[in-house]
Symmetry: C2
Subunit: 366 residues, 2 copies
């Protein structure tokens, strides 16, 4: 079968041939439909995040997949069932551990997990993949074409669940949210705040000029676009309003700390970015005091578990179809898979960065 | 009646005469027994925190009080009932607001509250005070001598409630805690972690040499003392172990950010200090990444509400009597009230800073 793999640091993925995998007991064989591409894929391609399985020299990419059960292999799944796979698995040679047994592999620390398509385990960018049945989340047939959005939405489901938990010791009544970053995850999250969560006042920070398709989406959602070149995060509370929730999806480390100033009293910042080392000066005394005197919280969040995937399926069903169409700017077949990676560094630029929001590779007709 | 008041910035409190207050409808008249002194009092005395009520030139000090109901004045309280008053009240001229109606004045933002003895309202360091009956929390007679510890313990009750809430979205199993600061609040909190909460492994950071009475208390509690001059907070995870909870009570702003490194994966830092402005450099990229990849949280917490006071009464009853005796190093009558303020800057040093942990002024025999 065909697969898309990368030699970390090579700068671009390549198409390779692999045997169709054999499901082990408890695993199903899944025929892959579509697999999304996100910033983490580029970090893996660039070699600054993740890693190949021990003994391999290439990693099959892909952690945002949707597929169809080809062979249930004695599991409870049914052939023809549309499914989305979760990402974390126990490390090689380990059957399970406390985190997986609790259904919370997203809370496992380093060394207690691998991530398919990211670190230590091959991903889903192949015509077939196998997976333990309990790592396959059913999805309705009508959502299958955009099923690769379930994984990124699940990331937000978890982050917002943890953020809300941090405010559960009192009668919190959030009304406003600021999303930092207008990439596909930021747009989906801003859409969730406006539609499925239902905040009246939602803001999204970016650094693009109009006309721009991501800003058009924000306009259509009723989300206020904030240009970071005009209004830095630390000035947003004054220029717009203090925010009950800040959701950081830029990976820009100063945003993590400037979020404290953007928050309203009793607000919470959910951090999702994974920046590299970078030292800079902050007014740490004032920020510390601000956290304390206004009961503010910061919650870091990574990955997501099966429950978050299940919530994400519900969310995906509720998001307006026009939004999903607008966010997914390109789905490319295997013969033109490179168009799904317009930002791969050493490849010829095959996409237009200004109009690309979310891409996917299609492995099999839906 | 006699009261202890301060002209902010004067450097030391003074004894003044005031009329015995008249309880308004819904208020009881309380005869004051003892009132504790803490770091906030010194900040008020120094003029760097808090403020006098509008139209006054002096503030009656004291926010950690225990008293006995002298005149119930038609409220549900009984004469002779021992009580501890909460600290926040609605601003002058305002009967209530959303935060007070919800029983959560501790979550009110600036301008929506005053704090008795701290900002905008006179405190409890007087022979009598009045208070709305619902701001008076009953306390058993046998705890009355140390009832002034209820307020500081309530601060920890709230901070740890909020910290635990932030971890409630998953199956959190904390086993270790680090308290930053070995003042009276740090010692009481370390004692709570060891006894009422029951963690096996508790650490407390200070910067004192042995022999020292606060370190003796930690030894007796089975808490590991860490000298910050030998092991900075950022190195504690390696030198000892990563901590499930960090509780910051130093007001030293770098600790707020170094806590991220001291935390174990999925851990939470509760911040309580109120530092002044101070800019410094941090490795913000690494700290941001650490928060995200290890699901860490930071929760700021200020003040406490009636529920936290009620929990604090229960905690106080459970703490070992030897601990309370060791923490309270001096209770001084009105004629020698200045001995309760050994750190007042312009007063003659009447106490020995190396042996003073917690002091109180006694207004009436128990």
């Amino acid at each position: 079968m065909k697969a898309i793999a990368v030699e970390p640091g090579a700068g671009a993925p390549e198409r390779i041939e692999l045997p169709v995998p054999e499901p082990a007991p408890g695993e199903a064989l899944v025929r892959t439909l579509r697999v999304g591409v996100d910033g983490t894929d580029y970090e893996v391609i660039d070699g600054c995040h993740g890693g190949v399985p021990a003994g391999d020299d290439r990693l099959v990419l892909g952690h945002e997949a949707v597929g169809i059960v080809e062979e249930p292999n004695g599991t409870d799944l049914e052939a023809g069932q549309y499914v989305v796979p979760t990402v974390r698995r126990p490390p090689a040679g380990v059957e399970t551990n406390d985190y997986f047994e609790r259904g919370e592999p997203d809370m496992a620390p380093d060394g207690e997990y691998v991530e398919r398509g990211i670190v230590g385990a091959h991903g889903f960018m192949a015509e077939y993949f196998t997976s333990p049945a309990d790592c396959l989340v059913p999805i309705p047939a009508d959502l299958a074409p955009v099923g690769f959005l379930v994984e990124p939405i699940s990331i937000t489901e978890k982050a917002l669940q943890h953020a809300a938990a941090s405010r559960a010791a009192f009668d919190w009544r959030p009304e406003s949210a600021l999303v930092l970053g207008n990439g596909s995850l930021g747009l989906l999250t801003a859409a969730m705040f406006r539609t499925t969560i239902g905040y009246d006042r939602v803001y999204c920070l970016g650094r693009r000029d109009r006309p721009d398709p991501s800003i058009d989406i924000l306009d259509e959602l009723g989300v206020t676009y904030i240009d970071s070149r005009e209004t830095p995060v630390s000035e947003i509370a004054d220029a717009y309003e203090p925010m009950d929730v800040v959701y950081e999806a830029t990976g820009y480390a100063k945003h993590a700390f400037e979020s404290i100033d953007a928050l309203a009293p009793n607000g919470v910042a959910a951090l999702l970015g994974v920046p590299g080392d970078w030292s800079f000066e902050i007014d740490g005394g004032r920020l510390h005091r601000e956290l304390v005197l206004h009961n503010k919280a910061i919650v870091g969040s990574v990955n997501s578990n099966r429950d978050h995937f299940a919530s994400a399926v519900d969310t995906l069903a509720e998001l307006p179809p026009w939004l999903l169409e607008a966010v997914v700017t390109g789905v490319y077949g295997l013969e033109e898979y490179d168009r799904a990676f317009p930002n791969a560094t050493t490849d010829e630029r095959s996409g237009d960065d200004d109009t690309t929001i979310k891409t996917a590779v299609e492995f099999s007709d839906i």
